[in-house]
Symmetry: C2
Subunit: 358 residues, 2 copies
C-alpha cells in the first residue's frame, strides 16, 4: 500500500463516522498533509452541515495553520456548485492548497468532473483514482441514487438450512442467532430505511428498530396497497410512527389514511396494477424523499417482487443450522448468483452469513 493509499484509507475511516446521518449526501472524509505530516482532518458529519473538505480546512485555520503548499486528500471529488454550502473547490483554491488527491469522481451531474476541472484551472496538481474501488464501495448508496434515481437495495433474510423463513403458521421469530440479529440491527443504523410487506407486519408485528446496537433508527416502510393492516401494529402506534412510511394505492381505506396522517405516519400513493403496488414506481417516490438505501426484510412475496423486477443490489442471507421441514419458502423466483462479483461467507454465531453483491 502506497502512502497515498494509506491516507485515503484514513479518509474512508473518517467518512464512515457520518454513516447514517448524511443521507442523501455521500460519506466524505478529508485529510490535509503538509511537509509529510497530517496537519488536519474532517468529515461530513450531518446532512446540511459543512462538507468534509471545509471541516478539515477550517480545523487547520482555527489553529492558525497556513495551508499554502499543502496536499488535501478526499475520497470524493470536491463540489463545484452552490448547494446547501458554497463550493469546496473554491475554498481549496482560496487557501492555496497545491495538491488534491481524490478517491473517485462524483457521479452527481452538477459536480461530475467540474470540481476537478476547476481545481486544475487554478493550477492545482490533481491526482484521481486512489483506492477507487473502496471509495466507490463506501458510497454505494449515493452512487446508485444519483445515477439511477433509485435507492440502493439490500435484500436481507434469515432462513433455515432448507430455505424456510417461517413455519406453516408464519411463526418466524428468532430463526437466526443473536450475533446475526446484531448485524442486522447494525445495518438498520446505516440504511436509510427498512422495508417489509404487509404480511410480515401482520404475522410478526415487528418494531424494525436498531435495538441491539447504538445508533439511529431507520425509516420503516411497509407495502400495504389497500391499507388493510390494523393501526394498532407497532410501526403505526409506537413512539416512532413519524418514522413510518406506508406505500398505498388509490384503493386504500380513506378513514385509515386520515388516522395515520394525524399520527404523522408518511403516506405515499403509488401506481398499482390491481392490488399490486408498482414497486419500481414506489422506489422512485421513496428516493425523491431523500431515501438512498433500503434494507428489504421480508416476507416471501416482497422478496419476489424485488427479485422479479431486478431491483436488488445486494443479498444478505443468514442461514441457521436448523431444518424446518415444511414451512414458508423465502423465494419463489429463480436467480443464478454465481455470475455476481462478490460472494462472501461469514460465520455469525452458529449461523452462516452469505453476502452477495452484484
Amino acid at each position: 500500500m502506497t502512502r497515498d493509499e494509506k491516507i485515503m484509507r484514513w479518509c474512508i475511516e473518517l467518512a464512515l463516522k457520518g454513516a447514517g446521518y448524511v443521507s442523501p449526501n455521500p460519506l466524505v472524509g478529508c485529510v490535509i498533509v503538509k511537509n509529510g505530516k497530517i496537519i488536519s482532518e474532517g468529515y461530513h458529519q450531518k446532512f446540511g452541515g459543512y462538507h468534509a473538505e471545509r471541516n478539515a480546512i477550517n480545523s487547520a485555520l482555527n489553529r492558525n495553520i497556513n495551508l499554502k503548499g499543502s496536499s488535501l486528500y478526499v475520497n470524493l471529488e470536491p463540489c463545484a456548485h452552490y448547494g446547501k454550502t458554497p463550493p469546496c473547490a473554491d475554498f481549496i483554491i482560496a487557501n492555496k492548497i497545491s495538491k488534491v488527491i481524490i478517491g473517485t469522481k462524483d457521479p452527481y451531474q452538477l459536480v461530475s468532473g467540474n470540481g476537478i476541472r476547476k481545481l486544475k484551472r487554478a493550477g492545482i496538481n490533481v491526482k484521481t483514482g486512489i483506492l477507487e474501488n473502496e471509495c466507490r464501495s463506501l458510497n454505494k448508496f449515493f452512487f446508485k441514487y444519483v445515477t439511477t434515481g433509485l435507492p440502493y437495495v439490500i435484500l436481507k433474510t434469515a432462513m433455515t438450512i432448507d430455505g424456510k423463513i417461517a413455519d406453516k403458521k408464519y411463526r418466524s421469530k428468532w430463526i437466526s442467532s443473536v450475533e446475526s440479529r446484531r448485524i442486522v440491527h447494525g445495518l438498520r443504523t446505516s440504511y436509510d430505511a427498512v422495508l417489509v410487506g404487509k404480511n410480515t407486519v401482520k404475522h410478526d408485528n415487528p418494531l424494525l428498530t436498531a435495538r441491539l446496537v447504538k445508533g439511529r433508527n431507520p425509516f420503516r416502510i411497509v407495502i400495504d396497497s389497500k391499507l388493510s393492516l390494523s393501526l394498532r401494529k407497532n410501526i403505526f402506534s409506537d413512539g416512532f410512527a413519524n418514522r413510518t412510511i406506508v406505500l398505498i394505492s388509490k384503493n386504500a381505506d380513506k378513514g385509515k389514511i386520515k388516522v395515520l396522517e394525524k399520527r404523522n405516519v408518511k403516506i405515499i400513493f403509488c401506481k398499482s396494477q390491481g392490488k399490486i403496488i408498482d414497486i419500481r414506481d414506489a422506489l422512485k417516490s421513496i428516493a425523491k424523499r431523500g431515501i438512498t438505501s433500503i434494507m428489504v426484510e421480508g416476507g416471501a412475496k416482497t422478496y419476489s417482487e424485488f427479485m422479479e423486477h431486478n431491483l436488488t443490489d445486494e443479498y444478505m442471507i443468514f442461514i441457521s443450522p436448523k431444518v424446518m421441514g415444511n414451512g414458508i419458502d423465502a423465494f419463489n423466483q429463480r436467480l443464478d448468483m454465481r455470475k455476481y462479483k462478490n460472494i462472501n461467507y461469514f460465520k455469525t454465531g452458529q449461523d452462516i452469513l452469505i453476502n452477495i453483491k452484484k
Copy 2:
C-alpha cells in the same frame, strides 16, 4: 502439544493411509521410539492383513533392531484375542517393549480393556488417552459399528440457497461447484458405501463412483422395494455391478432378481411396512456384510427416512449461490441442529459447505 501428542498425531497420519481399505477393521497407525528417536513405524494397510503394531515391530526386527526398552505408540488399544492374526499384545510382550502409549481404548467387546490388562500384567508401563478425541474421530466409523451394529451415516446433499435439490422436473445435475463435487468424490473413496433412493437412480441415473479423485470406488446401495427400476440403469449395467447392493422387500419382481444375481449385484431382502423398507433393519443387514460407513446421497424421500428414524451421525450440506424458486425440497422433517457438537462452515469454490456432527 506434548511430545507424546506429537507422536500420536503421527500415528493418526499413518493410520489414515489405510482409509478405504481396512473396513470393517479400524484405522491404526503405530510408531516405536527408543532412546528418544523414532526407530520404526507401521499401519494397518488392508483388511485381513497384519495390524499396525505387528507391522511396526516386524519392520524393526527386519532391520535387526532390538526393541527391549522401547516405547510403542498406537492410536487404538492393541488386540488381545485371536482374530485373522494372533494378538498384538502378546507380540508386544514377547519383544520386551517396556512402554505402550495408547490413544483410545478399543470399544470392541473382545478387546475392550483386555489388551491393556494383558500388557500391564506383563509389567509394561501403559499410558492411555493421548489425543483421545482425535483418535476417536479417526475411527468414528469403527466405533459406531462395533458399539451399535449399525454403520456410521453421513447425509450429504447439494442444494440451492433456498433449499432445493432439483427443479420441478427433477433436474439436479451440477447444482454444486466442481470443488464441492471433488470433495464428495473424495468421501466416496473413504466411505464403504453410498446409498440412494430409487427416485434418484430413476431421474439422475448416477454412477456414484469416485471419478474426480484417485482411490477405490464405494459400494453403491439403492433402496428399491419392488425392484421397479430399469436394469439398464448405470449402477446395474456398468462394469462395477458387483459393487451394487439393492435393498428390496419380498414384493420385489422375481424375474429381475434373477437377472441381477447373474450380474453379481448383491440383493438384500429387508423387512418392510407396505412398500416402505424398514431402513433400520436394512442398515443392520448392511452392517452384517462388513459395511461400517454409508454416505446417503439422496433424494428427498431417502433423506426423510434417515432423519425420521434418527439414523444420521453427520451432515454435509453444500449450498450453491443460486435460488431455484420452485423445486424439490431437500428435507421435509424438522430438525434443530444447534445442539450438535460440531458445526463448521467451509468455502468450496463458489459453494458453502456446512458440516454438522452429532
